[in-house]
Amino acid sequence: MRDEIVVSIRSDQDMVEARAKCRRLADDLGFSRTDATLIATAISEIARNILVHAGRGEISMRPLCDDGRYGMTVVARDSGPGIRDVARAVKSGFASRGGLGLGLPGARRLMDKFDVESEPGEGTTVTMTKWRAVDDLERLREKRRRRAGGASS
């Protein structure tokens, strides 16, 4: 399995590189094209936040494997001004005043797990995970594996 991939975010071009690397990793892990697009979009939203609010930061991605499930975790860090009210920043959006639900709330909705750690003046770390949908063939293999495990025990 591939190691962690780290991309420094200092310009729009870095955002393109982060998207490209995320898409390659998603492809290696067997994500569908639609899911790869959703992850690339979430990364773009987070990278945009880094560029706008902190100026620079980094995005790292690594594959996940848990009990036969494959996924990807993306961590975005910056040393910018931080977020005063994290809960509000993550939850606001469509239902708030004039919000369209892009940015942090939009990224959250595209991923399976989303966590933000931030303190004013201490920067922000966003950790997000997407699991790959298990296809029918994998379900069948898993069923056989469990059956074989049950028979041998």
């Binding site: 955002m15 393109v16 590189e17 998207r19 490209a20 898409r23 094209r33 639609t34 697009t37 959703l38 690339a40 979009t41 773009s44 939203e45 959006g93 469509f94 239902a95 369209l100 639900g101 892009l102 709330p105 939009g106 990224a107 909705r109 595209l110």
Partner: protein
């Protein structure tokens, strides 16, 4: 950006992506979709713009139609991703609104419950009446098939129930034998929830039990609602006993004065 401006920008970006496909082009598509969302352009506008850009590329002399279609698919997918974020936000807002509405309904029913309890406390045989009301209200509020409320402390033991028979609206009380049979059936943990009835000084008065949710399993919200109802029911029972001659509470109170 209006539709005409989007057409021009989208056409150029798509052409560049067909000529040199790559992440740069896909990122441009994502930015265009995002811009379109921000400007309030509809998904239909974007689909129309995409179709025109695709058609223009296919009509070019020496166009590699297969490559244009492949590039078109990924470019369009990328431009739609911002709309997907908005759609999910809309869905979330809708669910929040539904939840708020159900909370409002719950508050209304709790208020009815309080009013009914207050009336029942003045009637003859009111403890039985209050228990029946509690069973009925808790069952209807949470949407369960059966509710059993029991007083098991040192006062007179009492049980009341409310039972919904299948799809009909008929609700009735079960006799003690049937009630005991239903309640003693094995229930999966998610098909039975219980809350204690307690006095103000923490003494257990009895319990409130719900069986078999009408749709799906009991949720955390159902448990919280039941806890709320049990607090109100405990207060109603205790208040009534304090004012009913011959109950241990009244005797204790009168003895202390």
């Amino acid at each position: 950006m209006n539709t005409i401006e989007l057409k021009a920008t989208y056409g150029t970006a798509f052409h560049n992506h067909v000529v040199g496909p790559g992440e740069g082009g896909l990122r441009a598509a994502y930015e265009l979709g995002r811009e379109a969302v921000g400007r309030g352009l509809s998904l239909l506008d974007l689909a129309e713009v995409h179709h025109e850009a695709l058609w223009s590329e296919i009509c070019l002399e020496n166009a590699d139609v297969e490559a244009v279609l492949r590039a078109g698919g990924e470019f369009f997918l990328e431009s739609l991703s911002a709309y997907e974020m908005v759609r999910r936000g809309f869905e979330e807002a809708n669910q929040t609104a539904l939840l708020q509405r159900s909370r409002l309904d719950m508050l209304r029913q709790l208020s009815d419950f309080l009013a009914d309890t207050s009336l029942a406390s003045d009637s003859v045989g009111s403890l039985e009446e209050i228990l029946r009301l509690i069973a009925e209200q808790a069952r209807e509020l949470i949407g369960a098939r059966l509710c059993v409320v029991s007083l098991t402390d040192d006062g007179m033991p009492l049980t009341a129930s409310s039972y919904s028979a299948g799809q009909s609206d008929e609700t009735r009380e079960l006799d003690a034998k049937k009630l005991s049979a239903v309640a003693s059936l094995p229930h999966a943990p998610e098909a039975r929830i219980t809350a204690a009835l307690s006095s103000l000084d923490g003494k257990e008065l009895g319990s409130l039990e719900l069986f078999d949710k009408e749709e799906g399993d009991f949720t955390a919200v159902d448990r919280a609602t039941l806890a709320h109802v049990s607090q109100m029911a405990s207060a109603a029972v205790e208040r009534l006993r304090l004012h009913t001659p011959g109950t241990p509470e009244t005797d204790r109170r009168e003895g202390s004065t």
